[in-house]
């Protein structure tokens, strides 16, 4: 008893013997009063937890009760450790049907949570039809639409197959795919090769030029890249992403530095490959002309790491945020089999010439995997150049990232932000914190035209629907409630 009290007195002795430094929560009158007495007080921003929702707050109080809170804390910090230990490499270029687990001849993968043909949005339908034409299953738009609706084609989310896809994210059996391996945990992830900007399949365009480009990618680009990696060896993606972040990328909407770094890695091997000079030149200039070539590598890099934290008991960190253009969905580590979804939100953004908000499709794509992984929107502060593109200032970029620390379980040990004194990016979105603080993850994204066949019309910011986080939060709460009953 006495020794316990003695140790107690230390904390008070410390208080009495050092300067008083106060964090003030509530009326700033008190902060002001402390400052007028030459004391130090930091006024803390406070908002009503759970946006004032009584029911959620009651649940939060339970989750924050000591025992549960500790177990969540432990599980989440383990998840952050796993993410930080993860080390993704490019290990090769393969073909969807040969490499993606569970891929089938009549299976089309798509972005986001599960969706049926009927419920698919315009660009998603466009991309599916394009893929069917590309595969030779259909010759025209009409045939493709009929086939898609016939039930003979199956649709499943990329996420169920270790795969991610930007925008529509459509993957069909003969498409070439990057193969990424998280060497620390032996997890593989896959993603198609980036087609470039403008009219492209991922935005739902399927004109002849789109199909022709896909064919060229299959016939020329993919084999050459495969050979180049065989010659040059596996490429350390974690280091590339980390470097790109120091060079003004955030890995989602800006990939100019990453693409350049990748070309630097690949170029010698491309030159040493057996392909014709014309092909080599075309491949190099194709990559060069497409600033987003690297996006299709940051995404599966994130996927290969996040899959390693799926299914940790008591872990409330997100393993995926994804949109199929109809719905926005998230998955939580401790509830690995569930999607929590809500209608996909509209994107608040800037439009390419001639297009307006009227033309925009709701938010779409798996690329939010970047934010989930601690880059993308979470690393905005590293990429002041892109905020302009979404109508903000460099200060906004810093604010975006700083805000995300509030809802993250930890910080990245690899990805660091120069403007924040090389602080690690906020990593591991904690769904409990999201609901507690009422802050949704920052997402920046491209905007697809709502009709099939047109392509990209703009880019901007998206506010994910709070309800998906609230639903997940309630499921987490139910889980712990049940657990408490089981272990009295």
């Amino acid at each position: 008893m006495d020794s316990e009290m003695d140790s107690g007195m230390d904390k008070l002795k410390d208080l009495f013997s050092s300067g008083l430094v106060v964090a003030n929560l509530g009326s700033d009158v008190f902060s002001d009063a402390i400052r007028t007495q030459d004391g130090t007080s930091f006024q803390v921003k406070w908002e009503i937890p759970c946006r004032g929702d009584e029911k959620l707050f009651s649940a939060l109080e339970l989750l924050r009760s000591r025992e549960i809170d500790t177990s969540i804390e432990q599980a989440n910090s383990r998840a952050v450790d796993i993410l930080n230990e993860s080390h993704p490499y490019i290990v090769g270029v393969g073909k969807a049907i040969d490499d993606i687990p569970g891929m089938a001849d009549n299976l089309i993968l798509h972005a986001g949570p599960p969706v049926t043909w009927d419920a698919m949005c315009g660009p998603m339908k466009g991309a599916v039809m394009g893929a069917l034409i590309y595969e030779g299953f259909a010759r025209s738009e009409k045939e493709a639409a009929e086939l898609a609706a016939s039930g003979r084609i199956c649709f499943e989310p990329c996420h169920h197959h270790g795969t991610v896809g930007p925008m529509a994210g459509v993957v069909s059996p003969s498409m070439p795919v990057w193969i990424i391996e998280n060497k620390t945990h032996g997890r593989k992830a896959y993603c198609t090769l980036n087609e470039g900007l403008g009219k492209v399949l991922r935005y739902g365009a399927f004109s002849e030029e789109v199909i022709a480009r896909l064919k060229w990618m299959e016939a020329t680009l993919a084999p050459l890249l495969r050979e180049a990696i065989e010659i040059g060896g596996e490429i350390d993606l974690r280091t590339l992403i980390a470097q790109a972040l120091q060079m003004g990328d955030e890995g989602h909407n800006r990939n100019r530095a990453g693409t350049s770094l990748l070309i630097r890695e690949l170029a010698p091997a491309v030159v040493r490959s057996g392909a014709s000079d014309a092909d080599k030149a075309e491949v190099l200039s194709f990559m060069h002309s497409n600033d987003h070539f690297f996006l299709n590598l940051t995404m599966p890099a994130g996927k290969s790491c996040l899959d390693a934290i799926a299914g940790i008991e008591g872990c409330t960190v997100l393993t995926a945020m994804a949109r199929n253009g109809t719905e926005f969905g998230i998955r939580v580590s401790m509830l690995p089999d569930r999607w929590f979804t809500a209608p996909a939100p509209r994107v608040d953004g800037l439009y390419l010439g001639g297009f307006t908000e009227e033309d925009a499709n709701p938010d779409i794509g798996d690329s939010t995997i970047c934010g989930t992984y601690g880059i993308g929107g979470f690393a905005m502060a590293a990429a002041p150049a892109i905020v302009e593109f979404v109508g903000g200032s460099p200060a906004d970029a810093l604010r975006f990232t700083l805000n995300m620390y509030e809802i993250s379980a930890g910080e990245s040990s690899s990805f660091r932000i120069p403007a924040l004194g090389f602080r690690g990016t906020p990593t591991g979105i904690d769904v409990v914190k999201v609901v507690e603080k009422g802050i949704v993850p920052a997402v920046n994204t491209g905007i697809a035209h709502k009709d099939p066949g047109i392509g990209q019309v703009g880019a901007g910011l998206v506010e994910p629907p709070m309800s998906v986080f609230e639903d997940a939060f309630e499921a987490v709460y139910e889980h712990f409630k049940t657990r408490m009953k089981e272990e009295p």
């Binding site: 316990e4 009290m5 140790s7 107690g8 007195m9 230390d10 904390k11 008070l12 002795k13 410390d14 208080l15 009495f16 050092s18 300067g19 008083l20 430094v21 106060v22 964090a23 003030n24 929560l25 509530g26 009326s27 009158v29 008190f30 009063a33 402390i34 007028t36 007495q37 030459d38 004391g39 007080s41 930091f42 006024q43 803390v44 921003k45 406070w46 908002e47 009503i48 937890p49 707050f57 939060l60 109080e61 924050r64 908000e357 109508g391 200032s393 200060a395 810093l398 604010r399 700083l402 805000n403 620390y405 509030e406 603080k437």
Partner: protein, 523 residues
Amino acid sequence: MRHITLKASTYRDSVALMRISKKASGLEGVSYVMVAMATDTNLDLLKEAGFEPAEFAGAKANDLLIALELETDSVLDEAVDLIEKEIEGGPAPSGAEAYEAAMGLDATLKSHQDINLVLISLPGRYAAYEARKALEAGKHVMIFSDNVTVEDEKQLKLFAGERGLLVMGPDCGTAIINGIGLGFANEVPRGDIGMVAASGTGAQEVSSILARCHEMGISQMIGTGGRDVSREVGGVMVKMGLRALIDDAATRAIVVVSKHPDREIADEIIEVARRGKKPCIIHFTGQADIRSEANLTFTRTLAGTAFEAARGAGKQVEGFTGFDEDAMAALLAAARKMPPGRKYVRGLFSGGTLAQEAVFLLSDGIKDIHTNLKIGDFPGLDDPGESVGHTIVDLGDDTFTRGRAHPMIDQAYRLVRLQRELDDPETAVILLDVVLGHGCHEAPGVEIAEALMTALSGGEEPGKAREPGDRPLVIASICGTRGDPQNYANERRALEAAGVYVAEHNEGLCELALAALEGRRDG
């Protein structure tokens, strides 16, 4: 279509606002733009013009309001964009300060590791929640808020006790740590008297008398909240604070101030103090029956506590009266002149402990004091809003503060009540406490003085002015120091100018009141 944009706490100079509004009105399809401050009047105007009240719910007078009326909806984004850009174009908080201002508790604690105390004034339920987080981060906590449940308080204090952390509060109005006043604290010099207080105004009264009358200072003043000494909470923090001060080399004498503790808890507190050997002056309001011993002195009044504390810390002090002899003489003369119908005392207190002390001290001379304080056998008030016979009300009680600021900050209700007592032909003496210090009303005494002068001159109906002799006596005490942000001398002068008899402290106030009533009977 109509659209509203609100910018919280935004000021731009009028020329800039006009420019913004002109620019936006110039857009094709915009029929009217109003850029204005969100005053109640303007919000009413919006309602009248058919804007949806939900769109501007919660707006305050310092928020900037932009109301748009559009002929074509499509121009909305353009107009809002333009306006936002124009507004943002002005000065925005820049640099590190802006980011710091945007940080929540977790982030603030993380980026300022040297923070050692978290001060919380939030709605009760959330106060407990955030306090728990602060304790888990290893920080001492002061909870100014009330409405925290006993269960929460107990849990927080047990948790903190195990870790040697302070939980001051809930409902802890004041504390002084390392010379810095927290909450409603008076400007008191540093010195060698340590205090543990389960009562806010009690602590303010003792510390400011020490500073103002005895020129003594405070080493630390640890607040605990009044409920700490209840059986449920068990005096955890009073005992802990006491131990800390016993250990503290900078503290020579210790004061414990508390409203009526649970008997068992009182014994425990006394036991800790006894073992501590340092001179310890203990004041349990309303419990005068404990005998002093060795290093322990028990006091009956707050002023007496301050006196004993000064002596305990080695200062040679003479006893001093709580009022000026001239004031007493004038008071008695005026009391004799009062018509016989005036016979009751009415105390309108903003400080709970001061009200309580007044009830106990006055009960020496008068019977049947009605009060809304739940103490002893004193009769209650069916309606605390109505005085009955002799009445002492604590205006800081929940019934009065629900939805309203505490009377130490906002005296609106006290002034209404004051008017009513002045108008009551049975009122003989009105008692007021004027509490100064950080966080308190910026000039409570001046405000009371203005109200009294207006009232006594007949206010809006000059015909109502009474005969000079036919008015109640007003007695006030000022709880504060000369260093307080309010001007002590000025407060006192204003009150005296308005005909108020000003006592040195609450005890003096009670003595004057009793004397005035005696004087009435004699006359």
